[in-house]
């Protein structure tokens, strides 16, 4: 009996091991499987996908962001496209899904959009898993108009070949906002040393700090420049200005974390000096939250944030002026006249904001490029490419800029769209906008970075005996620890 059972157990074990060795029976291999790095040049892959034959009588689902839909631009875009491609029976519709989609999980089951508009870091996370198609960008009309730095935001090296997986539409980067009507009456004599007709405090961080201190001295309830330091997106720009970077090898090598590189500690010092003219609100997100109302009521003179919230500042300032007795139209006109959005001031080479003799360097800032990508799960790649080509054409980008106030990534549109757009475009071309890395690991920089910047801001308000960042070497060490934390988060288990 025992022998029978033993035989049965052995037979079962054999069956199990045979079953284990059978391999994935349900994979429907429609291609060549995993490719070796030199298996196919990028153009071959793209030409196979985009063969130029427009699929006809089909519907493509386009995912745009909520603001674009709310402001009516999206309706105009798809109406214009549908009219232009009516002969082919191609209809573009709103994908009607959450803008924070999960293409990696939903796409394979047919739930994602065909075309998606997202920030470069999001699109490129999909590119890593081949969830969006590599695009034949040289064939697009906009190719020559968009600077290489913007295209680089969508470049990915996959299996040894470089691909571009998105088409840049607009540039996002911090701008300085200030209230012209809060300038001192004598600013032209006292705060325009170079006589260029532009207030010095909006051109140099050292002057902005001096003005902030003077304003607060005059009235303890008033402040000059105010910004929460805990926001990595805005604060890290000061580090970049002195040689820091996010990841090495053009933001692709996550083994090389560069927040402490170069003389990044000078950037941390600048932040620390600026925080000394603020109050404790800069430690947490209080200033970011109430900047609109505090700028409007005159408590703050200046702050930095992205161009897309310009209308919110205008709305708040308009309310303030209406409270002072102006009617809606006059209040709005006055708000537009007094709220100035401009590029970032220059930094002293030494990092010392009290050193007036120091040479000046450009401020760098973290930024992003929003653009279009095509889902790798679409059935109609050629129609999708036609849509992207249409949506990134000069006319549609200009309309987008007019209706949404975005800064176009196209050179011709940026020039035509106005001073702010041109400034952002120039900053991008000059390398002063550090585009968010297009790798998945970028998601792991935020919390360690936030913790460091909170600590740095908090240090300004600690008693002398408890201060951690008393000199540049201490700041360097803090930045190195933050970089190490990011490295550990990314690589401990990978």
């Amino acid at each position: 009996m025992k022998r029978k059972w033993l035989s049965l157990m052995l037979a079962l074990a054999m069956v199990t091991s045979l079953l284990s060795g059978c391999g994935g029976g349900n994979s429907e291999s429609g291609g060549t499987g995993e490719q070796s790095p030199d298996a196919a040049p990028s153009s071959t892959v793209q030409n196979t996908i985009f063969n130029g034959e427009l699929e006809q009588n089909i519907t493509i689902r386009v995912l745009e962001n909520d603001t674009v839909i709310a402001k009516g631009y999206f309706a105009e875009l798809i109406d214009a496209f549908n009219e232009a491609y009516a002969d082919y029976g191609i209809v573009a519709v709103d994908a009607n899904m959450d803008q924070y989609l999960d293409l990696a999980n939903d796409g394979p089951y047919g739930y994602g959009p065909d075309v998606l508009y997202q920030a470069n870091d999001i699109i490129m996370q999909y590119a890593e898993g081949k969830h969006v198609y590599p695009l034949p960008i040289e064939q697009l009309e906009c190719y020559d108009q968009i600077p290489q730095s913007a295209w680089d935001a969508y470049a990915a090296t996959i299996e040894g070949t470089e691909y571009y997986c998105g088409v840049p539409v607009n540039i996002q980067a911090p701008m300085l906002y200030y209230r012209k009507d809060l300038l001192p009456e004598n600013w032209e004599s006292e705060w325009d040393q170079d006589g260029d007709g532009v207030p010095d405090m909006t051109q140099r961080w050292s002057d902005l700090l001096a003005f902030s201190q003077a304003r607060h001295e005059g009235d303890k309830n008033l402040y000059g420049y105010m910004k929460s330091l805990d926001d990595v997106y805005f604060s890290s720009g000061f580090l970049f200005s002195y040689g820091a970077y996010i990841f090495g090898n053009n933001n692709r090598d996550t083994e090389d974390i560069g927040f402490a590189a170069g003389e990044a500690e000078k950037g941390a010092w600048v932040l620390s000096q600026l925080a000394s003219a603020m109050n404790e609100d800069c430690i947490d997100s209080t200033i970011t939250t109430n900047a609109y109302s505090r700028m409007a009521d005159g408590t703050y003179f200046a702050t930095i944030t992205t161009p897309d919230v310009y209308s919110t500042f205008i709305d708040e300032l308009t309310k303030t002026y209406m409270g002072e007795g102006l009617d809606q139209a006059a209040a709005e006109e006055k708000a537009v006249e007094n709220l100035v959005m401009t590029g970032l001031p220059k930094l002293p080479e030494s990092g010392d904001l009290s050193d007036e003799s120091a040479g000046l360097i450009d401020s760098k800032a973290m930024g992003g490029i929003n653009g279009y990508a095509i889902s790798a799960y679409t059935q109609y790649p050629n129609a999708c490419l036609a849509f992207v080509e249409f949506a990134t054409g000069y006319d549609m980008i200009m309309k987008r800029s007019e209706m949404l106030g975005i800064a176009p990534a196209r050179a011709d549109a940026a020039q035509a769209a106005g001073e702010t757009s041109q400034q952002l475009f120039d900053r991008l071309e000059q390398g002063n906008i550090i585009i968010m890395p297009s790798v998945k690991a970028v998601g792991q920089i935020w919390t360690p970075g936030q913790t460091f910047f909170i600590d740095l801001a908090k240090d300004v308000f600690r008693p002398e005996s408890e201060k951690k960042y008393t000199d540049l070497s201490a700041m360097k060490q803090g930045l190195e620890e933050m970089s190490q934390q990011i490295y550990d988060a990314i690589h401990t288990l990978n």
Binding site: T16, L19, S20, C22, G23, G24, G25, N26, S27, E28, S29, G30, G31, T32, G33, E34, Q35, V45, I49, A104, N105, G107, P108, G129, K130, H131, Y133, P134, N279, E280, D281, I283, D284, T286, I287, T289, N290, A376, Y377, K440, G443, Q444, T447, P448, Q450, T451, I454, D455, K458, F461, R462, E481, Q485, D488, A489, T492, L493, N494
Partner: protein
């Protein structure tokens, strides 16, 4: 053993008709004329066979391999999704388990029919058996669907989560990359890896302190409030009870965000401090380890006390007041009455609630996520000094994609909370002396 002997005896004594049921389900029933039941069993066997031929076998194979072909949307290679394969593999095992149950019932039934026939009785008709399902065996009818639901919606996800802890799912290994089995490697990393182990034990220590303190605080504060509002001298009881209920009715995360604002640098508390000439205090900031922990305890109390108060109010109204009368006559003061009568009674009646509060507090994700999220401290790996294990699990699995490590931590949490809960409950009077307080 007795069952095994019974099985051996049945196998020895049964005729070939019963043995046929072992190969063709329902065969014995059909041969004894119970063709309806036989067909049902046969249909079950055929359905299961169909399932395994069409996909069950590949699902089982997938369970072991977790995929062999990586997907490549650019070339149209569908590939294997390891996570889906794991899930479908578990489902296949559940199907096997359910099938085995039906298979055994098929054998038992065939043998029972044969015994009835041998005893000269007629087999029970299909109609009569169906009638029994609505009468004597109604529990089967009533529970069949819920059990199936529990299998699919509870057991499957729980087993899935448990099994994830034994894979390398997470980090850069997420679909379309293929996941592999790694055995106990994640648990080993949790306790031995220099980055994980200190953080794990540090957070575990605070987590236990937090769970005990918050459960005790909430319970006694709720009981105290209920006793206070139960006193005869309190006028307008309904009015006073309204306020805690309001705190209870407001969604927890709104309350938490409200408290976060109140204690922030720009919040009203610091505003008052500044107006009085003081310096703003970072109640919840980077350096605020213990003040943040105390605020967490207080806020949790604010959210949880009303439910305990309502529960205690109900139980207190069921007390036998003659015992208190006797105690008073015997000279017991209020404290003695509370210590010797009220508290034992309340502990007895609410032990399961205390345990559920303990487990809930041990896994209280919201308090520190909303009050003080987004900080990674020195000496902690991807966590802060107020994070509980559940917050760390979130940081690892959601913010940093370490799903398998997150699953391993959740298994550890489960082991801790279930062990403590079971140990306390089994030793409690509520379990051992269930019938004493009537």
């Amino acid at each position: 053993m007795e069952k095994w002997n019974g099985f051996c005896e049945a196998a020895k004594n049964s005729s070939w008709k019963v043995k046929l049921s072992a190969v063709v389900m329902g065969g014995g029933q059909l041969l004894y004329g119970c063709w309806q039941k036989g067909l049902v069993y046969l249909l079950v066997e055929l359905s299961v066979l169909y399932y395994f031929i069409t996909r069950g076998i590949s699902d089982l194979v997938g369970f072991f391999t977790l995929g062999t072909q990586k997907a490549d949307p650019w070339t149209g290679t569908a590939g294997d999704n390891s996570v889906v394969m794991l899930l479908m593999g578990i489902f296949a095992w559940i199907v096997i388990a359910v099938f085995l149950c039906i298979y055994v019932s098929n054998l038992k039934d065939a043998y029972a029919i044969e015994r009835r026939v041998k005893a000269g009785e007629q087999p029970i008709s299909f109609k009569a058996e169906l009638a029994q399902l609505l009468d004597r065996k109604f529990y089967i009818t009533a529970l069949a669907l819920p059990v199936l639901g529990v299998c699919v919606f509870h057991i499957l996800p729980i087993v899935f989560m448990i099994l994830i802890a034994f894979t390398n799912y997470g980090g850069s290994i997420v679909p379309p990359e293929l996941v592999d089995w790694v055995g106990f490697q994640n648990f080993a990393q949790l306790t031995t890896l220099s980055r994980f182990a200190p953080t794990f034990f540090r957070i575990l220590g605070w987590n236990v302190v937090w769970a005990v303190l918050s459960t005790g605080l909430n319970y006694f504060a709720g009981l105290g409030l209920a006793l206070l509002l139960n006193k005869d001298c309190v006028r307008g009881k309904a009015f006073w009870r309204l306020f805690p209920i309001l705190a209870y009715a407001i969604p927890g995360f709104i309350t938490l965000l409200g408290f976060k604002f109140m204690f922030s640098y720009g919040g009203p508390i610091n505003q008052i401090i500044r107006d009085l000439g003081g310096t703003a205090i970072g109640f919840l900031d980077l350096d605020a380890k213990w003040s943040a922990r105390l605020i967490g305890l207080f806020v949790n109390c604010w959210i949880s006390v009303p439910s305990i108060m309502l529960l205690a109010t109900g139980h207190l109204s069921n007390r036998d007041m003659t015992i208190y009368e006797s105690a008073r006559i015997d000279g017991a003061n209020r404290w003695h009455q509370f210590k010797s009568l009220t508290l034992p009674y309340m502990i007895f009646t609410t032990t399961p609630v205390i345990l559920s509060q303990f487990v809930g507090n041990f896994n209280n994700f919201g308090i520190f996520y909303f009050l003080r999220g987004g900080l990674y401290m020195d000496n902690y790996f991807l966590a802060s000094d107020t994070d509980l294990l559940i917050n760390w699990l979130y940081n690892l699995s959601i913010d940093n994609n370490y799903y398998s490590i997150g699953a391993a931590i959740s298994l550890v949490i489960f082991l801790i909370t279930s062990t403590i809960s079971l140990a306390v409950y089994v030793r409690s009077a509520a379990f051992r002396e269930e019938d004493t307080f009537q």
